[in-house]
């Protein structure tokens, strides 16, 4: 890259085209992160809807289901926190990816050797993407646990009602 920079003081089209081609991998990563962000924000919207429902149900709940609803709210809160973390991490990863492309430009046309910086920014982007996926996986596990808890609760209540009837 430094070679390229010293050779082209008047920027030729070919050199710019080559740099843009080099930016292909970061741009691909950006596409991946954008897709991930799409998934995260959809789930976050769903959690928000659920929270809305739970808060509304809390206002007109009978005492025996209150504890369950409150558990649910705590659970939803935790899930929204995990998703928030995932979104922030993915967005930071996207920002780092954009920075990588910019640094690629700077490295090709400036004369400073920014190899280590470029490397660490790209590595940072990958690590952030990894962390976002991990946070998302944690959220998914929480959601699965919550669904199963709800199913178990529903079945218990049903059995209880059945017992009291007979």
């Amino acid at each position: 890259m430094a070679l390229l920079g010293s050779e082209t003081l008047g920027v030729s089209l070919d050199s710019v085209a080559r740099i843009i081609q080099m930016a292909l991998t970061p741009v691909f990563l950006l596409t991946g992160l954008a897709t991930l962000l799409n998934v995260f924000s959809t789930r976050l919207a769903r959690v928000a809807t659920r929270a809305e429902q739970a808060v509304r149900a809390l206002e007109t709940a009978e005492p025996d289901s209150l504890a369950i609803l409150r558990d649910q709210l705590v659970h939803l809160r935790r899930r929204s926190l995990a998703l928030d973390a995932a979104v922030i991490l993915a967005a930071a990863g996207g920002a780092a990816t954009c920075m990588t492309v910019l640094l690629l430009f700077v490295g090709a046309f400036g004369d400073g050797s920014i190899g280590p910086v470029l490397f660490s920014v790209f590595a940072l982007a990958i690590i952030l993407a990894l962390a976002a996926i991990a946070a998302y996986a944690a959220e998914m596990l929480m959601a699965g646990t919550g669904i199963r808890a709800e199913v178990a609760h529903g079945r218990r209540r049903h059995l209880l009602r059945w017992h009291s009837k007979t």
């Binding site: 089209l13 710019v16 924000s41 976050l44 928030d84 922030i88 954009c98 430009f105 046309f109």
Partner: protein
């Protein structure tokens, strides 16, 4: 483009070369489109919420109205951040398209477009960066809002409970 290219003998090859060079900008276009998808979905959601809150505001008692007003202000702030994100992403898209055009012009014509190409692509990347940052801001605002809402619901519920027990005694 007065002389119409250097290798007039193999036009297909040169065009294929340009199209291959345009791969990265086109991918950038794709990722920005995906981002715009996210932004517009969220903007629609925020719009729905505003609708709900406005409707709820019409038929509500005073102690709840303050919370709703606060929510409206919050939603307003969120729409501003999302608008900024959408505008930045759109500008980025336009810049990417300009970069592709410059690539064409530069290869087929004789004008030195190196700097302009670099500028267009750089502008696209910077705008994409700005859009992502605006979106992150909006997400942070939204998360804070959800948790504030949960806390408010919880508080109200506790209030109800204590009032209810007062009535009982």
């Amino acid at each position: 483009m007065p002389t119409m290219g250097v290798d007039f003998g193999t036009p297909l090859d040169s065009v294929a070369h340009i199209i291959r060079m345009a791969l990265t900008p086109v991918f950038l276009l794709l990722s920005i489109a995906a981002l715009l998808n996210v932004f517009s979905t969220r903007l629609a959601l925020v719009g729905d919420r505003v609708e709900q809150v406005t409707k709820a505001l019409e038929a509500v008692d005073d102690d709840h109205a303050a919370a709703l007003e606060k929510q409206l202000v919050h939603l307003h702030r969120r729409t501003l951040a999302l608008d900024a994100a959408v505008i930045l992403a759109s500008v980025a898209k336009a810049a990417v398209c300009a970069a592709v055009l410059l690539l064409f012009v530069g290869t087929l014509g004789d004008e030195p477009v190196g700097w302009a190409l670099l500028l267009a692509f750089g502008c696209a990347i910077v705008c994409a960066l700005g859009a992502i940052l605006a979106f992150a801001t909006e997400m942070l605002l939204a998360g804070t809002g959800i948790r504030a809402h949960l806390a408010h619901g919880h508080r109200r519920h506790l209030l109800h409970l204590s009032l209810g027990s007062h009535h009982d005694t």
